[in-house]
Symmetry: D2
């Protein structure tokens, strides 16, 4: 049940959700959350790389997907039934080693479909990737 901030989960609860359900993303933690925005931080050294040493594209996509999932959970309450229906990612530059920040924003929270925009930045703040994700969510009376 969302509180007066519009949120149904705290940062700590979101981080517990990562630990208990997403062991492949143990390098990630939620730094901030509001009703329309979530910031996820990841240690780039612990992510999958591709030949040449840069972080793999699907791993970058995975960060935006995890961020979107967590923001939707923060809004509608903890549910594993929020399912990615599409992801679209543009890779803009190779991330510098170190911290990666994934910022996700809610563009639409519909009764069955959500749209989330994501931006991935490395430590100096350079834009590494942008993404748009759509999620299928349980209808309000089943949440």
């Amino acid at each position: 049940m969302p509180d007066e901030t519009g949120l149904a989960m705290t940062v700590d609860e979101l981080n517990e959700l990562i630990i208990s359900q997403f062991p492949d993303y143990a390098a990630c933690r939620v730094a901030e959350v509001s009703a329309t925005r979530l910031l996820l931080e990841a240690d780039g050294e612990k992510l999958r790389t591709r030949p040449g040493g840069t972080i793999s594209g699907p791993e970058q996509a995975g960060l935006t997907d995890l961020g979107a999932f967590l923001l939707i959970n923060a809004r509608i309450g903890r549910t594993l039934m929020a399912l990615t229906s599409s992801m679209q990612v543009n890779f803009l530059s190779r991330p510098r080693p170190g911290l990666l920040r994934t910022e996700v924003r809610l563009a639409k929270l519909g009764s069955r479909l959500c749209v989330v925009l994501a931006e991935l930045r490395d430590e100096p703040g350079g834009l590494v990737a942008t993404a748009t994700l759509t999620y299928s969510v349980p209808p309000p009376h089943q949440r």
Copy 2:
């Protein structure tokens, strides 16, 4: 250098490329390749899952990305400089456990940009996901 079939690499060479450069994708092997199409098979039991036990979306995206990379290498010769510039994936149904087949087709092989279409199917043949990937490739005189 491509031979008369239009291919610069054999199935065996592509599989050696997976083993030497993509250890995260050890569950995958190339089953077939032609000048415009490649079939990649993966043991779904060895892929990353998400809560609920199904194969994670980014992992499915990764299969289509690997297939696209290999098909482009098969055409232009072994290069790690073929880089994903975008990926767009639609998730249609949850894959059944077991073998996953990723079929990639070359829609465009330009002098600097390639476009690859992908379809992911589970063992009974059901369509699990479709994807479109774009790759930035070295210009012909640098290959």
Copy 3:
């Protein structure tokens, strides 16, 4: 109500739908339809061009969107409540003047969401564009 072929509308009924509801697409007509595929033909001379004389990208996108809309109508029965929720188009080459053929295939017909793949070809058969469209459709009991 779909008949034994799985179709709820004939080619003639689909063409009447274009004429009555889509006057901007008067240059288009349905040439073939089956339960999973529709072929739309357009006179390229009557479409919007962009500077340089080629057919504009949004106009190409519009052909794939119209084809997807018609195929979904052919399956679930005439409804204006099938709404595009996303379109993703890759432009591969400039079409030659003359006939343009848009082939759309149904990748998923869900209870609320449809996914359609499209390929656009010019007269010699060259691939001009590919697209993926998602549609929100009325649930079965409201069709």
Copy 4:
């Protein structure tokens, strides 16, 4: 040649470009431009509608495409050789009648590839659509 603001074209020059080269978009005019952002305004009453009276999806896509084209021209100088290579649009809500504002932002201006993010809003400010467009541009020495 860009001036000290990083711009190679003024708002007036961009609006002349619309009038001379894009007669289908006569309902549009550039309201603001900076080195990384452009605001395009359109009279929704003069755009293509679809059955039901809302502005058609491809027409919305066209606004984001035009905005992206103009912003790239504003940066690299007037050229018709900036070509859309992909467009990805999510339709979020039906626009209210009246003014439509398309805001485009430059995510990447590479030597050959540009990535532009777009948001389309109606008069009350509601988010109507988001888009990501990629453009192929002439290399710097040919501009």
